[in-house]
Symmetry: C2
């Protein structure tokens, strides 16, 4: 087992133009909150806000590419969106192992994304399975 309870991980993710535009090209979500600055300002935001599911794409990278083994598969995820993310925001990602379930080969993480102002923009849990 490459994992221990309390193991911590961190990454930095940038919500670049490439990621933002790429997400729209792939998934076609052009809701005005994400594409129209004036619409978003009228709703009380500083500017158009980024799609929350871009953060779920970053979680895919974290699980698929940043762990000490590639033999993993996601079982379940949850995410709560707490504050808006804007274009070019740099997000600090932190995760910690809060459960190791040997009998079912599963590992549970909590995680959060924070912006430069140290505000949590999203947080949640992920459970993964270890593949044999």
């Amino acid at each position: 087992m490459n994992f221990e309870l309390g193991n911590k991980f961190e990454e930095c993710f940038v919500l670049s133009n490439e990621v933002y535009n790429g997400f729209i090209v792939v998934f076609k979500d052009k809701n005005p909150l994400h594409t129209n600055n004036q619409f978003a300002v009228n709703k009380g935001f500083k500017n158009k806000i980024m799609h929350g599911n871009i953060l779920n794409g970053f979680l895919s990278y974290f699980i698929g590419e940043c762990l000490p083994t590639k033999d993993v598969i996601i079982h379940s995820q949850e995410i709560q969106f707490k504050n808006a993310v804007y274009l070019n925001d740099e997000l600090q990602f932190n995760a910690e192992i809060i459960g190791i379930y040997d009998s079912v080969n599963a590992i549970e993480f909590t995680y959060s994304f924070k912006n430069k102002e140290e505000l949590i923009v999203a947080k949640g849990k992920i459970q993964i399975g270890l593949l044999k």
Copy 2:
């Protein structure tokens, strides 16, 4: 209010090459389970399997583009992955409103994605807020 308890929604999503390759270009998750057929076969799958977070991108499109109003924002999501999704799978998406919370302007959905064999590949819940 454009929504009522029990309202049902359905969409069809295709896990095309464009979506699969686009997701990898945007999020850089090249875990061998998603990119190497032989690796995935050795782990017991029919072929390389698609990233679960591609389905979360489809959820973004559903909430952002398929509801009777565009004045929405996602509060939270959860997803459980139940069966593998393969390249070119056509997924039937069904959602239903299971909660309307007027005092906080929030609506809760359950949803599932099924493949052509009628197997549920993923299911979960989404809560959205209605923007004023």
